[in-house]
C-alpha cells in the first residue's frame, strides 16, 4: 500500500496510468475529436478575420495571425477605406428585420398560446395540429407561390415585394410562429390557473389578468421565444436572397454571400463579416442556453 502511494506522488504519468482505463480513454478521445472538429472552424473564422491580405494570400496558411490586424474590419466599417463595404448598413438592415420579427412574434404567439393553454373552444385541437404540420413545410417549397402571390398582391396595392424588408418580416413570422406558439402554450400550462382565477374573482378582466398575472410569471419563456425568433430571422438566407436585389437593402447573409462571390475574393473580409454576424448569436445563445434548448428540439432552425 505504502508503495503505491509513493508511486502516485512520484510520477504524474504513473497516476494517469492508474486512473485511465478503456472507457475513460475512449471517452477522452471522442471528446477531443468532437471538440476539435467543432471548434477548429470557429477558430479559423475568427483568426482569419485578423489576418492581413498578405497573410491570407501567401503560399502557406498562417495558423496564428501575427497580431490582431484590423485590416479586414476596416474594409467593412471605415468609410475612408478604398473598398469600403458599408457593412454597418447591412447590420442595420438585419436588425430592422430581426427585431420586429422577434417583437411581433412574441406578441402574437403570447395571445395565441394563452388562448390555447387556457380556453376551450371548438376546433382547438385541429388548429394546433395543423399549425404544427404546416411548420414542417420547408421554405423552398413555398418560395415560388409566396413570390407569385405577393407579386400579385403588391401589384394591386402599389408596393414592391422586391427589396421590401417588411415582406421579409411577414415570411419570417410564418416560419417562426408555430414553434413560438407551441413553446409558450406549453409554458402557460405550467402557470397555475388558481392564481388567475383569484384575480378574475377580484374583478380583473381576462386581458388584465394576462397582462398583470400571467406575463410577469412567464418572463423566461417570453425571452426565449424572442431570442429564438430573433436568431431565425438573423440567420435566414433563402427568402432574403430571393427578395433582396438592391445591395443597399441586403441583410448580412446576402452581403457576405456577395462579398464571397465578388471577383476580388478576400477571405479575411468574408471571415471578418462572418465573425461579426456569428458573435451576437453565440453570445445570446450561451447566455440563455437552458431556456433555448426546448425551442431547438422543437425543430429550431428548421432544416
Amino acid at each position: 500500500m505504502a508503495n503505491t502511494t509513493r508511486d502516485e506522488n512520484l510520477t504524474i504519468i504513473g497516476h494517469l496510468a492508474r486512473w485511465i482505463n478503456w472507457p475513460r480513454f475512449l471517452l477522452a478521445i471522442t471528446l477531443f475529436f468532437f471538440l476539435t472538429g467543432i471548434l477548429f472552424p470557429f477558430y479559423w473564422m475568427a483568426s482569419s478575420s485578423f489576418k492581413t491580405f498578405q497573410e491570407i494570400g501567401g503560399t502557406e496558411p498562417v495558423y496564428v495571425p501575427s497580431g490582431l490586424r484590423l485590416e479586414a474590419y476596416r474594409e467593412l466599417f471605415v468609410p475612408s477605406h478604398p473598398r469600403f463595404q458599408e457593412f454597418g448598413r447591412n447590420i442595420l438592415n438585419t436588425a430592422k428585420v430581426s427585431v420586429p420579427t422577434a417583437i411581433i412574434a412574441v406578441i402574437l404567439s403570447t395571445m395565441g398560446a394563452y388562448a390555447i393553454a387556457r380556453f376551450r373552444f371548438k376546433g382547438k385541437e385541429a388548429l394546433l395540429n395543423s399549425i404544427l404540420v404546416i411548420y414542417l413545410f420547408p421554405g423552398i417549397l413555398l418560395i415560388i407561390p409566396i413570390f407569385a402571390m405577393l407579386s400579385r398582391v403588391a401589384n394591386q396595392l402599389g408596393f414592391s415585394v422586391q427589396d421590401n424588408l417588411g415582406v421579409l418580416v411577414f415570411t419570417y413570422l410564418a416560419q417562426t410562429l408555430p414553434v413560438a406558439l407551441y413553446m409558450l402554450a406549453n409554458y402557460f400550462r405550467t402557470v397555475p390557473g388558481e392564481i388567475e382565477e383569484a384575480a378574475l374573482i377580484d374583478g380583473c378582466s381576462r386581458l388584465e389578468v394576462i397582462w398583470r398575472v400571467t406575463l410577469p410569471l412567464s418572463v423566461p419563456a417570453l425571452v426565449s421565444v424572442a431570442i429564438y425568433t430573433f436568431m431565425i430571422a438573423w440567420n435566414e438566407f433563402l427568402y432574403a436572397f430571393i427578395f433582396l436585389n438592391d445591395s443597399d437593402m441586403f441583410t448580412m447573409p446576402i452581403k457576405i454571400n456577395a462579398i464571397y462571390n465578388s471577383p476580388s475574393f478576400r477571405p479575411n473580409v468574408v471571415m471578418a463579416a462572418s465573425t461579426v454576424m456569428t458573435i451576437p448569436v453565440v453570445v445570446l445563445f450561451l447566455s440563455l442556453e437552458r431556456f433555448l434548448e426546448e425551442g431547438l428540439t422543437a425543430g429550431g432552425v428548421k432544416g
Binding site: P61, M252, M271, S274, E289
Partner: protein, 318 residues
C-alpha cells in the same frame, strides 16, 4: 370533463361565459392563424396550381390568367438533363437528392448518438462541452458554410490541403468541392457536422429518461458495457431515433442553403431544391420550378405520414 365542471362553477354565467371565452380565444389566435395559413397553407396549395400552369416573369403580376398546360411542366422536369440519371458520372438531381439526404441523415444520427452518449457520462466541465457541441447548429449557415469552403480552399495554402500535404496523405493539393464524388461526400459530412446537435439534444433527453434500475439489473447480471448498450440503451432509444431520422430526412431532402452556398449545386452535388431554385429564379420558369417542388412535397408527405405513425405508436408504448 373535469375542466367543463370547473368552468361552469367559476363562471356564474356558465354557458354565456364559455361562449365569451371561445370568442376571445378566436380573437387571440386569429392573427397567428391568419399569418401561418396565409403564408404557408395557401401557398402550398397555390403551388400545386402553378405546377399545372405556364407561369413566367411575363405574367407574374397576373398569375391567375396564366395558361393551363396540363402535365407539360412535369414532363419537362423529368426529361431535364439536370434532373435525370445520365450514367455513373452524372447521377442527376433526383438520385443525388436521395444519396445526399439518406447519407447525411444516417451520419447525423450516428454522430448525434455518439455525442449524446459522451455527454451522458460524468466528466469535468460537461456543461461547457454541451454548450460547445451546440455551436454548429446555432451559428448562421452563411458563416459556417463559408468557413468550411475556406478551410477546403483548393490552393496549396488551403488549411486542409496544407495539413494533409504535410502529413503525407495527399501528394498534391485537392479541389475538394470541385471534384465529383468527393464533393458529395463533403456536403454530406458538412450536413452531419451542422445538424448532429439536433439529434444529440433529442437523444440526450431520452437517455436521461431511461430507468436507472434497468442498468443496475444488467450490472448485477454481469452484462458488459456493449451488452448494456445493445439491450438497454438502444431499445429505449428506438422511437426517438426513428422520429429524428424522419424529421432530418424530410428537412435534408428540402435543404437549399447548405448545398447552394458550398458548391452552388455543381460537381455532382445538384439536388432537387437547388434545381427548383434554378428553374424558378434563374430560368424564370415558375411552372417548371413548382412541378419540381411537387416531387419534394410528395416525399415530404410520405415522410410526414410515417412520422405521425411512429409518434403515435411511440406514445402508446412508452
Amino acid at each position: 370533463m373535469a375542466e367543463t365542471k370547473e368552468t361552469s362553477k367559476s363562471g356564474r354565467g356558465g354557458f354565456s361565459l364559455r361562449q365569451k371565452e371561445a370568442r376571445l380565444a378566436w380573437i387571440l389566435v386569429s392573427p397567428t392563424a391568419l399569418i401561418v395559413f396565409g403564408l404557408v397553407l395557401f401557398p402550398a396549395i397555390f403551388s400545386i396550381w402553378i405546377s399545372f400552369h405556364d407561369v413566367g416573369l411575363q405574367n407574374l403580376g397576373n398569375v391567375f390568367q396564366a395558361d393551363f398546360v396540363g402535365l407539360q411542366n412535369y414532363r419537362q422536369v423529368v426529361t431535364d438533363f439536370a434532373f435525370k440519371y445520365r450514367g455513373p458520372q452524372d447521377w442527376g438531381a433526383a438520385i443525388n437528392s436521395v444519396v445526399f439526404s439518406f447519407g447525411s441523415t444516417v451520419l447525423t444520427l450516428l454522430l448525434g448518438l455518439i455525442a449524446a452518449l459522451v455527454l451522458n457520462q460524468r466528466f469535468p466541465a460537461r456543461g461547457a462541452a454541451r454548450a460547445i457541441f451546440l455551436f454548429p447548429y446555432v451559428a448562421p449557415i452563411v458563416s459556417v458554410a463559408f468557413v468550411w469552403k475556406w478551410i477546403l480552399d483548393p490552393k496549396p495554402s488551403g488549411v486542409l490541403n496544407d495539413i494533409l500535404l504535410s502529413v503525407g496523405v495527399i501528394q498534391e493539393p485537392v479541389s475538394y468541392l470541385a471534384t465529383r464524388g468527393l464533393a458529395m461526400v463533403l456536403v454530406v459530412i458538412f450536413e452531419a457536422w451542422r445538424y448532429f446537435p439536433f439529434a444529440m439534444l433529442m437523444i440526450l433527453a431520452r437517455l436521461q429518461a431511461i430507468d436507472e434500475t434497468l442498468y443496475e439489473v444488467a450490472t448485477v447480471a454481469g452484462a458488459s458495457i456493449w451488452q448494456k448498450f445493445r439491450y438497454v440503451t438502444l431499445p429505449g432509444l428506438r422511437y426517438v431515433l426513428g422520429s429524428i431520422f424522419l424529421l432530418r430526412l424530410m428537412w435534408t431532402f428540402n435543404k437549399f442553403d447548405d448545398i447552394w452556398l458550398l458548391t452552388g449545386g455543381g460537381y455532382g452535388t445538384n439536388v432537387l431544391p437547388v434545381l427548383t431554385y434554378q428553374f424558378s429564379f434563374q430560368s424564370y420558369d415558375f411552372g417548371k420550378g413548382a412541378a419540381n417542388a411537387m416531387i419534394l412535397l410528395l416525399i415530404l408527405v410520405v415522410c410526414l405520414a410515417a412520422y405521425v405513425g411512429i409518434m403515435m405508436r411511440g406514445t402508446e408504448e412508452v
